[in-house]
């Protein structure tokens, strides 16, 4: 017969292993829960344990914008030379906000301005939070845009916030056309060896359709109402592939670098079906991607 001490130790170890096995089953089950349950768990954790950290990020973002605006006003009051010496990042941010305001005014009340927050955790590289939600008219599938073009789409909506994915997400795809309507296809993400190498590709273009390099590609509005027609996506960069003699695909230079998009507008349920006019002045005539060189 084994000593009493070693028997109780063995029992304790046995209980521990059973406990660990049960928790492991729970962890595996969490991956297969219905999406609604997963969203509920996420919502509860974001509103409780994670709330202070999300709140910190929101306040820092607001402070950053507030500081930028205060600096800008101070510079105007002080002198023209102070304005000229203002940091280029501040000028860029001001320009972005002004462009956003102009876009929202042109597009109408269906476009709601929002600030983008990045979770920055493992597995969330293509995911972002916006500080508006259901009460602002945001719904699942609402397109997220900025003055340059399409940033991504909303995937989850809560009362005061929403979660979206940008075009670098592998699930991202949007029905597209050339701005002049001469060719149609499907724009998808092509992951690179590293996240920074992600690119967009226009698939399914008819083989006999000649496309000029540099042509603007916009949403076609065929998504069953998800994306209105005319949101700029990117410009044709080069021929990527020919599938037999019936289809071609092209690499695109994206109009928006998602990491640089800090302020956006979200198209709510009240948005109209054609958005081409809203971007005509900002993007259709522009030559380069927001934030510099396109990703390769």
């Amino acid at each position: 017969m084994a000593p009493l001490g070693s028997e109780s130790e063995a029992n304790g170890r046995h209980r521990n292993l059973i406990g660990a096995f049960v928790v492991l089953l729970l962890a595996l089950a969490s991956a297969h829960l219905p999406e609604a349950s997963q969203q509920r768990i996420s919502g509860v954790l974001q509103a409780s344990v994670l709330r202070p950290f999300i709140f910190t990020q929101e306040r820092l973002e607001e402070a950053s914008v507030g500081a930028a605006q205060a600096d800008s006003l101070m510079a105007i009051v002080d002198s023209l030379s102070a304005v000229l010496s203002t940091h280029s990042a501040l000028l860029n941010e001001n320009r972005t906000l002004r462009d956003l305001l102009a876009l929202a005014e042109r597009a109408g009340p269906g476009y709601v301005p929002a600030t983008v927050l990045r979770p920055g955790t493992s597995g969330s590289e293509s995911v972002f939070l916006v500080d508006i939600g259901e009460r602002d008219g945001v719904r699942q599938g609402s397109p997220v845009v900025n003055p340059r073009g399409l940033v991504g789409v909303i995937r989850e909506v809560r009362s005061r916030s929403a979660v979206g994915m940008d075009w670098t997400h592998p699930d991202f795809r949007v029905s597209a056309m050339l701005a002049d309507g001469s060719a149609y296809g499907l724009v998808e993400n092509r992951p690179g060896r590293f996240r920074e190498d992600d690119r967009l590709i226009l698939n399914g273009v008819a083989y006999n359709q000649e496309i000029e390099l540099g042509s603007m590609v916009v949403t076609s509005g065929f998504e069953g109402g998800v994306y209105p027609r005319g949101i700029p996506i990117g410009r044709i960069d080069e021929l990527r592939d020919e599938q037999g003699s019936w289809r071609r695909s092209y690499w695109l230079i994206p109009m928006v670098e998602p990491g640089a998009a800090t302020h956006v507008v979200v198209l709510t349920g009240r948005a109209g079906g054609d958005a081409l006019d809203a971007w005509a002045g900002d993007t259709i005539g522009a030559d380069t991607i927001e934030g510099g060189e396109p990703p390769r």
Partner: protein, 160 residues
Amino acid sequence: MSAPAKVRVWGWVAILFFLHFLLHVGLSYGRPAPDLLTLGLLLAAREIGAGRASALGLFFGLLEDALSVLAFGANSVAMTLVAVGGATTRDLFVGDSRVFLIAYLFVGKWVRDLVHWIAVGEGLRQPFVEQVVVQGALHGLYVAAIGIVIAGLAGLGGES
């Protein structure tokens, strides 16, 4: 391990938990910030049995999953497995030598990245060589380096 030493370890686990979310979520540092949550979990797992370690791993994993909704569950599975593995090493390796601690933290973080890569699903994962072999090893070294600094501050890993 003595009671004051245990309190010191748990204090550091709480600090690492707070710092992880402050750096990743609050200050949006993203990838340059180290994975202090896994480091804290690995340190805690050496102090408790597999049952409680797995519960802590599940809790940490769910918190990470709450911010990466498109692969919900992947972090929970990875953290739970790492916690169970970490707790199991108590029975296999006695003592807390510095060399063991480095190897333990490196392998723990690497395994966490590997399991996450598997659990995240085919549609979301990056190529194996880049994400697991290269980046996983670098992240493992990063966590091990931070872990050694923490161990020095907390007075852990001095035994041989």
